[in-house]
């Protein structure tokens, strides 16, 4: 599998957010994108997943790719419980329960998103992405609102996925990105 983003340019109004970005994912591991707020990290992920068209440049190799995203917002369906949210995309009860339990949501499976704290919502969104089991796990600031203990456990889980599979990880935490990534694209 090889995904290639070539000379990506994206402008919003007067502001050119992405200026000729090149980014290639061609080996399993955690591929990191870092940069300060407003540097275009999320925009680049949207272009990667086909949710946004670049003004210039090409995205190659994504035609048959299934992405498992954790969006910057949790995007859980409010009328379904956490478990139902995960099951809807995973289609497998055991797998859904496994990842929810692994992320410490074993007790909170029957809660609705409205009743969850920020950190719990984040974990639910991560459990959904992991349980879906797409070809590329796409993470946009997945640790927002998590305490250190949970963050460490979640990171272990992501790293174990990254050993065999493809992960694209966006975070402003440049230090962490360098410690876990097979490559780090720094957007300025």
């Amino acid at each position: 599998m090889k995904i290639e983003m070539r000379d990506i340019v994206k402008t919003f109004g007067d502001k050119q957010v992405l200026k000729g970005i090149n980014f290639t994912v061609d080996q399993p591991g955690i591929h990191c994108i870092s940069g300060p707020s407003g540097s275009g990290k999320t925009t680049l992920l949207y272009i990667l997943m086909g949710l946004l068209a670049p003004d210039q440049g090409q995205v190659l190799g994504t035609e048959h790719i299934r992405f498992s995203p954790v969006f910057a917002e949790d995007r859980l369906l409010p009328t379904l419980t956490v478990y139902e949210n995960v099951l809807l995309v995973a289609g497998d009860q055991q797998r859904s329960r496994h990842y929810l339990s692994a992320l410490g949501l074993g007790e909170g499976m029957d809660l609705y998103p409205k009743a969850l704290s920020t950190g719990m919502k984040r974990r639910a969104a991560l459990a959904r992405a992991l349980a879906y089991g797409g070809d590329v796990l796409v993470l946009d600031e997945p640790f927002k609102g998590l305490d250190d203990q949970i963050k460490s456990e979640a990171l272990d889980l992501i790293q174990s996925v990254g050993e065999k599979s493809f992960v694209v990880f966006v975070s402003h935490d440049i230090e962490m990105m360098h410690s876990i990534g097979v490559q780090v694209l720094n957007l300025i």
């Binding site: 995007r75 369906l77 909170g108 609705y112 009743a115 959904r128 998590l146």
Partner: protein, 241 residues
């Protein structure tokens, strides 16, 4: 206030007393003709109301996804909305039997309301949830059920609440103008023709009471329909990390 007005006017042929109306309603309710009229009116008007709900909802969903349908329906709905109900009743009488008029007219009054409300509800759908559904390849029926329906539900409930009153009043008007036999509207018309003022007030009271009851029943059904979800939500208290 009614009693004061009655005493001030002092002519039974112009304004009946509340007590006399209540007694007359009781008398009428002891006759088979009363219940036949109520059953006929209720069944036909509710048939028109439910038909409008089903067709309005279906066409709203279609119009949301197929812009051509929306483009075609929009002016028609506009015309229906701005045409007086009496004009429709008189025009429709040329083509439709009076018994079916009490189905058609409530349908015509409620359909634009449902259509407009549901279209508006569907436009409020969270685009971010749709993006999520697209990336996770959630099936179309599941998207409809879990994303579109919850967005449209409050608008559908609002149109039910308003629509049931619309349907009832327009249906009775259709029965009066269509002189439909064995219906509440037909009874109202006969009372007017034969100058039975007391009967006119009695049947009007029946219309009002049934209108209130109908609205309550519809709201009760909506409450029962949504209770399960609400109760499940309430049972799950907030949690902190």
């Amino acid at each position: 206030m009614w009693q004061t007005a009655y005493l001030a006017i002092g002519k039974d042929v112009l304004l009946a007393s509340p007590k006399a109306v209540a007694i007359r309603v009781m008398e009428l309710s002891r006759t088979a003709a009363f219940w036949i009229a109520v059953a006929n009116s209720l069944s036909r008007i509710m048939c028109g109301f439910l038909l409008a709900l089903a067709v309005g909802a279906l066409l709203a969903v279609l119009a949301h996804f197929v812009p051509v349908i929306r483009l075609l329906l929009h002016p028609i709905i506009g015309v229906v909305k701005s045409t007086p109900v009496a004009s429709f009743i008189i025009l429709a009488l040329v083509f439709i039997r009076s018994t079916r008029l009490a189905v058609f007219i409530p349908f015509l009054m409620v359909f634009p309301l449902v259509w407009t409300n549901i279209i508006e509800g569907l436009e409020q759908v969270d685009q971010k949830l749709l993006e999520m559904a697209k990336i996770y390849r959630i099936s179309r029926p599941a998207r409809l059920r879990h994303i579109y329906l919850p967005a449209a539900a409050p608008y559908l409930i609002a149109s039910c609440r308003v629509g049931v009153g619309f349907a009832w009043k327009s249906g009775i008007a259709a029965e009066v103008l269509g002189v439909t036999r064995d219906t509440i509207g037909g009874m109202l018309y006969n009372s007017k023709i034969y100058l039975l003022t007391l009967d006119q007030y009695a049947w009007t009271a029946v219309v009002i009471v049934l209108s209130i009851l109908l609205e309550r029943v519809v709201m009760l059904l909506i409450h029962l329909f949504t209770r399960k979800r609400r109760r499940r939500g309430e049972e799950n208290g907030a949690h902190e990390d």
